[in-house]
């Protein structure tokens, strides 16, 4: 891509938080299973993803001038590396399509029942294409504009939700069985946190790679904290049964917020900001898809392909998960396992290969200046 400006660790942390937190509070799949014990699943998922990112940072530091795509090819060999990157590309496509579908599902269910989901997805794709076109620096800066707006509004709404909490959401503690927790961890790793591993393809754009983990970890931990706060507020204010049955539990619990006697349903304002916030996940996935493709196939002018890629996502989106239950089924049965390859296994392999060939790689780097 044309933009090669380095981003700072702080900015990368912002992206991490935004990228992970946008959609995390939409479905609460793992919380519907684990209820009050969901924190165990979330915390173990976040620890896992921090470990993976740390490992990949270690890999990146070994090859400071290479992009992750190149590192894949160096470590796995040319063709195997390419195949692995293509696997990651598929993962990026699945993320974009999932987010497009999830957002359009949310809108057509909760807010705009008569609008066609295709229109919503098309508008989303046009917006993400525009932002990818503007480049990473603009995306990062927009994140920095949106983040405070989002944080302020979500903090206000969370404070307003506290009076609605009727039951203690943490009790009875430690009541889930180990397989349930393990499955919850998988769900939690698949849905919000494992996605973070896609960000390793941005590592080469960070100015100070040595101190990369500080910002990243803070971003990840904060997004976990946000998810937990939202989950427990939803459990507390909706009650355990309604929490299980509600399609969008956090949204429903925001609907309960009431200021004074008559000012209700202020969720619309939050939803406006939240929509934009969720969009960053699609944007980052779209951006990474475009960059990785252009790196992989050595495309000289990737900007021309941004809109076609967007339309491709749109086309896949209109064809996938037409029924809402399909989306849920996919999220709870297929995704937790299919996601493991690009987000867990591949990074682990890369990490081990680097450890083995670490000496080699260093020597080679030292040889050619």
């Amino acid at each position: 891509m044309a933009d090669t400006l380095k981003i700072s660790n702080f900015q990368f942390g912002c992206i991490c938080f935004t990228y992970l937190s946008g959609f995390s509070t939409l479905f609460f799949n793992e919380a519907k299973i684990l209820q009050q014990d969901v924190w165990m699943a979330n915390v173990s998922a976040i620890v896992l993803s921090i470990l993976i990112l740390w490992l990949m940072k270690h890999v990146q530091v070994q090859y400071p001038d290479k992009t992750m795509t190149e590192i894949y090819q160096v470590l796995l060999g040319k063709w195997l590396g390419k195949a692995a990157v293509v696997g990651t590309l598929l993962y990026a496509v699945s993320i974009t399509v999932l987010t497009l579908r999830a957002l359009s599902l949310f809108y057509t269910t909760a807010i705009l029942p008569h609008t066609s989901p295709e229109l919503i997805m098309l508008m989303l794709v046009l917006t993400t294409s525009y932002s990818v076109y503007l480049g990473l620096e603009t995306i990062v800066r927009t994140v920095q504009v949106m983040l405070p707006l989002f944080l302020i509004s979500i903090t206000v709404i969370c404070l307003l939700m506290i009076p609605n909490v009727e039951t203690n959401p943490f009790l009875p503690a430690f009541h889930s069985r180990l397989p349930e927790i393990a499955y919850g961890t998988l769900l939690s790793y698949a849905f919000p946190f494992g996605k973070g591993t896609l960000l390793i393809f941005l590592f080469h754009r960070i100015g100070n790679k040595k101190r990369l983990m500080a910002g990243t970890s803070i971003g990840l931990v904060l997004s976990c904290a946000y998810l937990l706060i939202a989950t427990y507020l939803a459990i507390g204010s909706l009650g355990t049964n309604l929490m299980k049955s509600a399609t969008f539990p956090f949204f429903s619990s925001i609907q309960l917020v009431k200021i004074g006697l008559y000012l209700e349903r202020i969720e619309i304002v939050i939803i406006g900001i939240w929509t934009v916030f969720t969009l960053f996940e699609t944007i980052v996935a779209h951006y990474l898809f475009t960059t990785i493709v252009s790196e992989l196939f050595r495309i000289q002018e990737p900007k021309r392909f941004i809109l076609p890629f967007g339309l491709l996502f749109f086309a896949i989106g209109t064809r996938s998960y037409v029924r809402p239950t399909e989306l849920e089924l996919y999220n709870t049965t297929i995704l937790p396992f299919s996601t493991l390859l690009p987000t867990l296994i591949l990074p682990l392999i890369l990490g081990f290969l680097t450890l083995f060939r670490g000496q080699n790689g260093n020597r080679r780097l030292r040889d050619d200046p």
Binding site: L112, E166, P172, N241
Partner: protein
């Protein structure tokens, strides 16, 4: 540099196409605002009757009047949606449920079709989770035909009454959120509002009365509660907004009849396993304000006060225990949510007893210890002076 222009043109062109298909628009001028909805069910014929109490702007006058007129329409159908859609045959405007604060369920509907009603309401995006659900004696349709006594809009009047019901405690209204949360729980029941028409003596018009409660268990209406029982539910349920409860209590102490205003009830539940099985103790702390007495009482002396406090405590204990007997023996329904408490705080015991809860609950002894503190005696100490 032409790129941004191209993008803008693309976006604009796309929006031009899109502008034609904005199907979600509701113009306010085209809206009939439904403020109360009644649902009745005819068990024999399997028909739903849907009643909507609407507010319409008064005609098309452009004068500065903010007069609205009320309009009650009802229609019949095989399902709620069918009935609601059949209502369109009578309504010239789009009915909007987004400001509906009350759902009045007829007695028969509450008994036989409550599941469908709650399911319909929780699925719909228009219906607020914060709207109140009340059960009417007889048909909801007849109840809604009443006029409000204050000449205000019926909906406003009803809203005022539900909001202020903690000031007397003999009426309870639950929101859709609570009902749909507790609805699925096989262990506990719940109590919501009871609406009836009062053909009181000396009044030409019948008025709506919101008093007492309606008890539900396992998704069905099981019976009416009187004011005393409702007060018990108020005092012993763990809900934040109900902590503001105030109610009047008539106490006899040293041959004087004293009225106290009780407020700020605080309770603590204790669960224990006794020889006869599970048992519960409830420690209550209440504050009291002395409102009146029918003959002079030496309230300056601590003993008199203590006696008065003890008498009040006893009175409350008796009242609650009476109600609890009715809940446990007659209704056999855990209307207070004791099962929730045991499940949350004594989860080990709960997992052992939850299968037998239906048998255990009616026999479970619940002991009440009410502790009353008289904190305010008023602006006047005693009419007699010393």
């Amino acid at each position: 540099m032409m790129r941004p222009v191209r993008w803008a043109l693309l976006f604009a062109a796309f929006l031009t196409i899109a502008a034609g298909c904005s199907t979600d628009i509701t113009e306010i001028s085209d809206v009939a605002l439904v403020m109360i909805t009644g649902v009745d069910y005819d068990e024999e014929r399997g028909k739903f009757i849907f009643t909507a109490y609407c507010i319409l702007p008064s005609a098309t006058s452009t004068e500065k009047t903010d007069k609205h007129h009320e309009w009650v329409a009802s229609a019949q159908g095989d399902s709620i949606l069918d009935a609601a859609r059949n209502l369109r045959s009578r309504a010239g405007k789009t009915m909007n449920w987004q400001h509906d604060k009350f759902f009045v369920i007829g007695e028969e509907a509450a008994r036989h079709a409550f599941y469908e009603i709650v399911d319909y309401m929780t699925r719909s995006r228009d219906i607020r989770l914060t709207s109140y659900i009340l059960v009417s004696e007889g048909k909801a349709l007849d109840t809604l035909k009443n006029k409000s006594e204050t000449n205000d809009l019926l909906a406003n009047d009803l809203l005022g009454r539900t909001i202020n019901q903690h000031l007397w405690g003999k009426s309870i209204s639950l929101t859709l959120k609570d009902i749909s949360n507790w609805f699925a729980d096989p262990y506990r029941g719940f109590v919501t509002g009871r609406l009836r028409t009062n053909h009181g003596a000396g009044r030409s018009e019948a008025g709506l009365v919101l008093s007492g409660g309606s008890a539900f268990h396992k998704g069905k209406f099981i019976g009416w509660l009187n004011g005393q029982d409702t007060l018990t539910v108020y005092m012993l349920s763990k809900r934040k907004e109900w902590n503001k409860l105030e109610f009047a209590l008539r106490v006899q102490s040293r041959s004087a009849n004293v009225t106290l205003l009780m407020h700020a009830p605080k309770k603590k539940f204790h669960f224990r396993q006794s020889d006869q099985g599970p048992a519960m103790d409830v420690d209550m702390n209440l504050k009291a304000t002395l409102m009146d007495m029918d003959r002079p009482l030496q309230i300056q002396s601590p003993e008199t006060l203590e006696q008065l406090e003890r008498a009040a405590g006893r009175e409350i204990e008796e009242m609650i225990e009476g109600s609890l007997r009715r809940f446990q023996r007659d209704f056999k329904a855990d209307l207070l949510g004791l099962s929730d408490f045991i499940r949350q705080y004594h989860s080990k015991e709960w997992s052992r007893m939850k299968d037998k809860w239906d048998e255990l609950y009616p026999a479970m002894p619940v002991k009440i210890h009410a502790n009353v503190k008289l904190t305010i005696i008023g602006m006047n100490q005693s009419l007699e002076g010393n």
